[in-house]
Symmetry: C2
Subunit: 464 residues, 2 copies
């Protein structure tokens, strides 16, 4: 590797090839803070440098792992001593904004938050939003097809990207920086690089889709007395709020009680004896009109019997307090530790049965175990925490089976928004058919025949 | 081919293998009505039959062309006597609708209109809409990533498809019938089949995304005095209508005058001496509220000087009359015949300059030639007609050069929504880089190594 690193230094400069303690002192995973074990970390300044670096790696058969913000939670950033890490931390530029077409051109290392802020300054909005906004990068968001809290209105990252530039395993630069909503000239190549977790190419730049800035936010926390009311309320909100519904976040009572009355972490804004709670938010153009519409939607839901209790936020402070309950993932982790956390998706109509069965299977096996559920109901996405009081690998595997295996029959997914990485690789076959996995392998072999990019991630081993 | 056809008859039944006059009496192209020249037309009843048919074709090295509604306009349905046509006309079933998740599962041969109607009956909405709705099929819409008149609000077909089932060249069935908004378990394989015009696989079934039914429609025709006002109006409409803007269709004065005062085909609802006209439409949940919002948006645009004249439709009849001007493509074809028609996209800010340069280049070359422009401005998509009085191949090539070549520099596209097919194949390199085209060819070779699917369509010839 040293001869290769010397050549790479000539491309990126010696200060941009980190070795030894400079590598070990960094982490490979935001959650676990494990040290980075890679042979070196290479920090190209631009696409041209990365292209040269990859051409050298290709020639030397050198495997690489790409690092963004490392917040993916599926161990996608893990690297071993015979791998090089490519970090895009020096490629953070916001190159241009076009408010008329609604586009922003950025380098892949730009943190999500800086992109959001640049859009705000231009009186536009970039509508990917998630807790890790300060750390995660646009390149990572693209590679993992990030989701977050506005998917019900604006879609996943895939829906917010118009163009991509990527460097292939052999150093070829594929410039597919489309800026138009409509472009049907040949295959839509950017789709290959979105959500393939860096296994088909390294995303270096992107054209993002911006929306007009909307500031009229209305938020309510409501309680529902059964699952039918919950799905009825979702349909009612979608329809009566027109295009303005932007969050429909459900907390099962186990979550809501734990974070409010049981732990005293939050004062319950409405009583905690209902089976389901929903945080509903709309985002519109004009506050007075948007508020009236929102209030009317909540009132008519009440009249239809779709909810039994509700509180509307009357200030930003109240709004933040409502969201604080839903977003208190730290509290959840603290109260349940040790716990196993899951990010799954399944057809909405199957959710209630699925959660009940899981709760019963878990409590049959571990008497005092807890199953805590919340999620983006409108997106079909649940976040499930299981705490059995034990964090052993054996228990983890047993819990994983209970959570993942029922998904297969109902066409659910073992990963809604975090991807597969290393962590869920062995469960991929529960969500995808053998023909699908074979086709993924065909793509991997076609684009990265030497298997250099994020080796062993996402796909099962390819049999020769 | 006859031995192969005998084997195929055993799979689909002899009445579903058309030969001779039964083939010749059908067309291969909705626009030109040219007869179908294929060796035979095969009509499988379901995915399993198609899989067996393709396995037989693969073994026999038999090239096939897939037929949907044949309304693509780029000659994608053309087949020669040594090719078989696969028609999905017997696979038209709407399999299921889930109103809570907002999904519909259909076979690929289902006509768009029947899908729209099935959604309506379930009090939902399927939001792809285009003139050919009665003839075009869902499979064709997917294969060509169809656009249409609601893209500004709901996106292209790609944005309305959650899952796809496809048969590969060797007969393998790839079932990727995801039903959830979020699913990051491995590569998103459906993207391969969307917009690749049947060259990578034959789409057999799909899961479509439905939206809540909205019925409050408001429509206006307005006039703008310059291009800056036009783009300002677009931003104003996007913002002030919140999420409700669903059409922003621009007509250059040349189009508006031709279809109204010059031809007397339509009474001009507002005077015809402005340089630009826009048909603006919003779609909301509740008529009174939505109407007030719409009216206010138009009024404030007037106050801001973004428009100089406007008429609001006060009835469905008036609305239809406004749309009739915009949608009178027959009138346009009739008045300009012979003409060359183009479907291009480019950055919105470049449009005015592009059109002026084109007009000047065309009139320099052909003294009395006409350049008529309208399009989906918000999507970056223009439909350009050029009439020089002459329909020779030589003139066609000269006009094509004038229309397409300037797009290269500004990152525009030679095909916004109709695809490449046979017709635009030689211009693909104006919109895509050599590295992109090479990567498309890599995909083609990986998925269809024998080159059996829609041979010679989309991509330039692959050099061995």
């Amino acid at each position: 590797m040293n001869i290769l690193l010397d050549s790479i230094e000539k491309v990126v400069g010696s200060q941009n090839v980190l070795r030894g303690e400079d590598v070990r002192s960094r982490t490979a995973d935001w959650m676990t803070k494990e040290p980075c074990l890679a042979g070196a970390i290479v920090r190209p300044a631009n696409t041209e440098q990365l292209s040269e670096v990859m051409a050298l790696c290709y020639e030397a058969n050198q495997a690489v792992v790409t690092h963004g913000g490392l917040t993916g939670l599926v161990r996608g950033g893990m690297a071993s001593s015979d791998e090089l890490v490519i970090s895009l931390e020096r490629m953070t530029q916001i190159e241009s904004i076009d408010c008329v077409s609604g586009t922003m051109t950025v380098q892949a290392g730009a943190p999500l938050q800086s992109v959001q802020e640049a859009a705000d300054q231009a009186e536009m909005q970039f509508n990917l939003d998630l807790g890790a906004r300060g750390s995660c990068t646009i390149g990572g968001n693209i590679a993992t097809n990030a989701g977050g809290i506005r998917v019900i209105r604006y879609g996943m990252m895939r829906d917010l990207v118009l163009g991509v530039e990527a460097v292939l395993a052999d150093g070829t630069v594929v410039n597919s920086m489309n800026t138009m909503l409509k472009n049907n000239a040949g295959y839509d190549l950017k789709q290959l690089f979105i959500g393939s977790e860096g296994t088909l190419g390294i995303v270096t730049r992107a054209v993002l889709k911006l929306h007009p800035q909307l500031t009229a936010t209305n938020t309510a926390l409501v309680a529902c007395e059964d699952f039918n009311s919950l799905t009825g309320l979702l349909q009612h909100a979608r329809k009566s709020l027109g295009g303005e519904l932007c969050a429909f976040e459900v907390m099962w009572s186990s979550y809501y009680s734990l974070l409010t009355t049981e732990s005293n972490r939050h004062t319950p804004p409405i009583s905690s004896d209902a089976p389901y709670y929903v945080l509903i938010e709309s985002l519109g153009a004009e506050q007075k009109e948007s508020h009236e519409r929102f209030e009317k939607a909540i009132e008519s839901a009440f009249e239809k019997g779709l909810l039994i209790d509700a509180v509307l936020a009357s200030s930003d402070h109240q709004r933040e307090k409502l969201w604080a309950i839903r977003e208190d993932v730290e509290g959840l982790a603290h109260l349940l530790a040790p716990r196993f956390a899951f990010d799954i998706s399944l057809p909405i109509l199957e959710m209630d049965k699925y959660v009940r069965k899981l709760q019963s299977a878990v409590s049959q096996r571990w008497k005092n175990a807890k199953v805590i559920v919340f999620g983006h109901l409108g997106d079909g996405n649940l976040h499930v925490s299981v705490a059995t009081g034990d964090a052993s690998d054996e228990t983890r595997e047993a819990v994983e089976s209970l959570v993942y295996e029922p998904l297969k029959l109902m066409g659910g997914s073992v990963s809604a928004e975090h991807g597969i990485g290393l962590k869920k690789r062995k469960y991929l076959n529960l969500s995808r058919t053998p023909a699908e996995i074979a086709l993924m392998q065909t793509l991997k072999i076609a684009l990265d025949p030497r298997g250099l990019l994020n080796r062993n991630k996402v796909l099962p081993d390819i049999l020769a």
